[in-house]
Each structure stands twice: as C-alpha cells, then as structure tokens.
C-alpha cells in the first residue's frame, strides 16, 4: 500500500539528523545528542517491528527473536542479512555486519595520524550515527518483550558489530 522513496533520501535524512543533533542542537553535550538519537531509533524500531511481525506466528524464545532480527528484520531494513551471529548463551549476542549499509558512504580520513582534529570528528560522527541503529534494535526487541541494552562497535568501517545484552 505504500509509496516508494529513493534510498538516497533516507541516507540524507539520517545523515542530516545525526549532524543536526550532534553539531547544532547539542553541540556542547555529545552524550545528550547520542541519547536523543538513540531515542529516535527506539521509537522507529518499536513501530517497524509491529509492521514486520504482522504475518508471522509468535516467537517461542529469545533466540528465535534474535534470529528474526538478524534475518528478516535486517533484510527489510538493509536488504541483506546479518553476516555473523555470536552468543555466549547467557543473554549476550553479537551481530556482525560486514558491510553496514549506512556506513558505506562515510569516508575514512586518510591523514588520521597528522590531523587528529578531523579524524576525531569523523569517528565521532560515525559513533553518533551508530546510536541510531542501536536504538532501532533496542526498540524492536523491547516491543517483542525483551528489554536489553545495545552498543555498537565500528573500529573497522564498513564492518560493524552490535552487542545486545539482554536484561535478565
């Protein structure tokens, strides 16, 4: 029933949102900017999961939910599945994406040794941007009844891993 939008519009909106919160609204308080971006992601994930689980039968356990996030949910959002899923069977999962779609357009500053300022700002912007998918995952999981904490690690663009810690 929906109309379609070019993907570059979504890229543009996300990049502009991260930049607005990071540089204009909370320029002096990056933790607040991160918190706001993560909260936006939370609401988006919350609403998206309602739509994507509509046709499915109900889940039996946490592992099925995480597998759904890795396969179907990621497929709907990023047109690919999570490449690698690790767990310690005690409520911690690591989702690894070898080529995270939203990071493919971010340039890596080549003069990172000389110019600490710009390298700092580009990785800071990347970190701020990664709060958004963390929020999406957290919103999706909590709407399915699994409270959790999600953090992202992107030391190696565009490879990205998300660590999900389920609260007992």
């Amino acid at each position: 029933m929906g109309r379609e939008v070019a993907e570059s519009c979504i890229d543009g909106v996300i990049i502009e949102m991260v930049s607005a919160y990071g540089r204009r609204f909370y320029a002096t308080k990056p933790e607040l900017a991160a918190h706001r971006i993560e909260a936006i992601g939370y609401q988006v994930g919350h609403q998206l999961i309602e739509r994507y689980t509509m046709e499915r039968p109900r889940f039996n356990d946490h592992l099925e939910v995480i597998k759904f996030i890795c396969k179907d949910f990621w497929q709907e959002l990023f047109k690919k599945q999570i490449d690698n899923l690790k767990t310690n069977h005690k409520g911690t999962f690591v989702l690894q994406d070898n080529n995270f779609r939203w990071l493919t357009r971010i340039s890596i500053d080549p003069s990172s040794d000389n110019n600490d300022g710009s390298q700092g700002s580009s990785s800071e912007a990347t970190n701020l941007l990664l709060y958004f998918p963390c929020g999406i995952i957290r919103g999706a999981l909590s709407n399915l009844g699994i409270p959790c904490a999600v953090s992202a690690d992107s030391s190696n663009l565009p490879f990205c891993s998300f660590m999900v810690r389920i609260k007992a």
Partner: protein
C-alpha cells in the same frame, strides 16, 4: 452483528474500544472485554491445557455467554485484539480475515510518528477504517 471491537496493549492497558450497537452500553462491553483478557492470559500461559498451538496468533473463541461471543487475536508484540459479536454462527475464516484487516489498520495507526506508544489511539482515520471493516463484515458472504 459485531457489538464492539477492542485493542489492548501488552500491559493490559486499553488502546482502543469502539462499540457498534448504538445503545449506551460501553461499560458493559468494557467489562466483557476485561474478562476476556483473563482468558487470553490463561491460554497463553498454559499451552498444555488448551489445544491452540503455542505460536498461533489467532486465539479463537474465548468467552461464550448466552448473548455474546468474544474472539481474540494476539500479535507478536503482545497486543491483544478482541471482537465481541452477537451472531450465533460465525465462520472461523471470516473472523480470521477480520483480524487480519484489523491488525493491518492498527499497524498503520501505530506507525504514526505522533502516536505515543501505550496511549490510546486517537486517529480518526483508524476509527473510520475500523468502522469500514466492521460494516464489511457479514458472515456468510465470503463463501
């Protein structure tokens, strides 16, 4: 004839309740819907006793009284959809397709960025769509 439809959130908070009988019996319907919530909890938490499989969304007939029947449907996000009907012979397939459309309308209403999750649904478009689905629901017309 459908007497009322209700959407209840996962903490048993009412999100939407609409009656279609024209009479002023909202309180009685509230009460019926509330009692049905207990039946849903029982069905979900004791799968061994009921015949419903663990991961089926459609819960079927929950609560038959002498004048009403209540059907339930549970989504993956623990949102419960309830239909109170006065008809005596309603086909399973009709109710299932009703719930499917009801769920689709709910998903669209919840995707509204101005909707606060957990608060009541105040969208007029949602109310109009639900009324349309209820009017289109006539047992026996789907063959």
């Amino acid at each position: 004839m459908i007497a009322c439809v209700a959407v209840v959130g996962h903490q048993n908070n009412p999100l939407y309740l609409q009656s279609f009988t024209g009479a002023d019996d909202a309180l009685k319907l509230h009460h019926i819907v509330h009692c049905s919530l207990d039946v849903i909890d029982e069905r979900v938490n004791n799968p061994k006793r009921s015949v419903i499989t663990l991961n089926e969304s459609y819960l079927g007939l929950l609560y038959p009284t002498e004048s009403y029947k209540v059907y339930g449907y549970l989504s993956n996000t623990k949102v419960k959809f309830l239909v109170v009907t006065t008809d005596l012979d309603v086909k399973d397939t009709d109710i299932r397709s009703f719930f499917r459309r009801f769920h689709a309308a709910y998903v669209d209403a919840v995707s509204n960025p101005f909707h606060v999750p957990g608060k009541k649904i105040i969208s007029r478009i949602f109310a109009a769509r639900v009324s349309g689905i209820v009017k289109a629901f006539a047992p026996g017309t789907y063959g």
